[in-house]
């Protein structure tokens, strides 16, 4: 299937945007861009869809939807299965995964993980990829550690002492644990390896049929990100309208989530994809045997629409 193309700037284009996660302060740039009319100015009306990441990418690949928000490795994985998806705008500049450990263990570099038991949600997804990247960077293999699949219960497992090392998002689990008076040591994947992370995914069809739409999306989003970086407090207040229950949450914690996220968004040119990060990701996935042979990464992303 295909979606309608050719709009003039006057008609409002409704776009359903799969976010890959539930409403969260990390989506502040999107809320900011809507609230300030950046999308409206581009003739776009966003309808958020908070479903699974892979479903969004599948639907984009199938031409059912024009865009989705997803991580870079998803694009490579999907392309290896012949889904014609393309990464058009880099929102996260750095891979946002951390290894969180008890300070007593004194884990300060990836090599310290040797022989340890590590809890992570499952042997798939960003957590798994981030951990592997870190292990490889220190010349370790998965055989050098014990991996335990614990579901998305890293905070609980760590807080109760069941797991002394867990993998999680840099802007989430460490902050929550600190707020619950659990000091942690953190190893950020981004400090050891450049990997492509979350951004705006579109398809070859959309790029061919309506490149202008991609450009407009990118522009609006870039504005939202820039404003959020510049004024997190304002973005936070705006987000309260979009995130059910944010007002009830601990504001210092949530604000910290936002400011930590912003560290991952900082860029000289917002939206620009680092080709080396793509190459690294490609190599990693091959090494992990998640894709059989290296892909042509240049087809997987484009910086053509980055404002």
């Amino acid at each position: 299937g295909s979606f309608g193309s050719a709009n003039d700037a006057n008609t409002i284009r409704k776009i359903k945007l799969p976010m890959g996660y539930i409403p969260n302060i990390q989506f502040a740039p999107f809320y900011d861009a809507i609230e300030k009319g950046y999308f409206a100015k581009e003739g776009i009306e966003i309808e958020f869809d908070y479903s699974f990441e892979t479903d969004g990418v599948s639907l984009v690949g199938a031409g059912e939807l024009p865009f989705a928000v997803a991580s870079g490795e998803q694009v490579l994985l999907a392309r290896s299965q012949e889904l014609p998806v393309v990464y058009a705008f880099a929102w996260y500049q750095k891979f946002p995964i951390s290894i969180i450990s008890e300070p007593d263990l004194n884990i300060t570099k990836p090599a310290d993980l040797r022989g340890q038991t590590i809890g992570l949600p499952g042997l798939f997804g960003a957590n798994y990829i981030g951990l592997q990247a870190l292990l490889f960077s220190a010349g370790l293999t998965p055989a050098d550690v014990t991996l335990e699949a614990i579901g998305f219960n890293q905070v609980e497992a760590f807080a109760t002492g069941q797991k002394k090392i867990v993998v999680g998002y840099a802007a989430n689990e460490p902050i929550i644990l600190n707020s619950q008076a659990h000091p942690v040591n953190e190893l950020r994947v981004a400090d050891y390896l450049q990997l492509t992370a979350n951004g705006l995914v579109t398809s070859e069809m959309t790029i061919k049929d309506d490149p202008e739409l991609v450009r407009r999306m990118s522009r609006a989003l870039a504005h939202g990100i820039a404003d959020t970086i510049a004024n997190p407090d304002e973005a936070y207040t705006i987000s309260e309208k979009y995130i059910e229950g944010l007002a009830d949450m601990d504001k210092t914690v949530q604000m910290q989530v936002l400011t930590t996220s912003i560290e991952f968004w900082q860029a000289e040119r917002i939206g620009f994809s680092n080709p080396q990060a793509w190459q690294n990701m490609n190599d990693l996935l091959v090494k992990m045997e998640l894709i059989k042979e290296p892909l042509d990464v240049n087809k997987a992303f484009t910086n053509e629409f980055v404002p």
């Binding site: 409403p23 908070y50 699974f52 639907l59 059910e244 229950g245 009830d248």
Partner: protein
């Protein structure tokens, strides 16, 4: 040998007893919970004590969003229940009446149960959208099977003698259905409905976890992400009350329609 005097049965006193027992049992449950949350060493943000959940409930109740979530989930559950029960009853009746139909359909019916919703989520989304419809569908799907099976078992247990009686009176198919099959299969069918009512709640939550904007399942997700454990428990309790409410309705229907059974009020079981 002395034998105890027969105790004449007093329905009202039994009812009163039942109420007391239930209240006592709930109270005991709360006490256990409070004790566990104090002494188990589990942190408060993982297993919050009842009072904390209660005060979280009061806060959530005031801003009204809780009731919207309840409303959404309730509609999904009830609609799903209605759709699922309707189809299951019709199909169950047909299958109970025809061995051939059973042979043809049973693999599909069993299969429909074993397919994990997450696996076909993209298809569901593609075909039915992210709105209420897909959740109703999931509820209906999960309600379907128990009601189906119990309809089949119920209809097959109808004594042949009643069919004979109705046939001798030249009753129509519809009359046989209304006057024999439905009342005779009712106890077993209502058992299926009890199961279905509670499963429907599970269905709605699962559906909401796949993707939704509102509803108690969605609320759980939201609260977990914010590590707002008391709120998770509030949502869980709302779900429990929803299930208890539905179950209570079925139990009430049962009590009314199955007065003729009253196994308990018989003198010696």
């Amino acid at each position: 040998m002395d034998i105890n005097p027969l105790k004449v049965f007093h329905p009202s006193s039994a009812k009163r007893n039942g109420m007391w027992l239930r209240v006592l049992s709930l109270g005991l449950g709360l006490v256990c919970w409070q004790i566990t949350s104090i002494f188990s060493g589990v942190e408060v943000f993982i297993l919050p004590p009842p009072l904390k959940v209660w005060s979280r409930f009061l806060v959530a109740a005031q801003d009204g969003s809780l009731f919207r979530d309840i409303g959404v989930t309730f509609s999904e559950v009830v609609l799903g229940l209605i759709v699922g029960v309707t189809f299951a009853t019709i199909l169950g009746y047909s299958v109970a009446k025809s061995r051939a139909l059973e042979q043809v359909l049973s693999p599909y019916l069993v299969a429909s149960q074993a397919i994990p919703v997450v696996a076909i989520a993209p298809l569901l989304v593609l075909w039915f959208g992210y709105g209420m419809f897909s959740k109703v569908l999931i509820c209906a799907l999960i309600v379907f099977f128990p009601v189906l099976i119990n309809t089949i078992v119920g209809i097959r247990a109808v004594p042949q003698a009643f069919y004979d009686l109705m046939k001798s009176l030249r009753a129509s198919r519809k009359q046989i259905l209304m006057k024999v099959e439905i009342p005779a299969a009712l106890p077993i069918f209502l058992g299926g409905l009890r199961i279905g009512a509670t499963l429907s709640v599970i269905g709605a939550v699962v559906g909401e976890l796949i993707g939704s904007k509102y509803g108690l399942g969605n609320l759980i997700n939201r609260a977990r992400v914010g590590y707002d454990m008391p709120m998770v428990y509030v949502a869980v309790f709302m779900l429990i009350f929803l299930a208890l409410g539905l179950y209570g309705i079925v139990a009430r229907i049962e009590k009314k329609l199955l007065r003729w059974q009253e196994t308990f009020e018989r003198l010696n079981v």
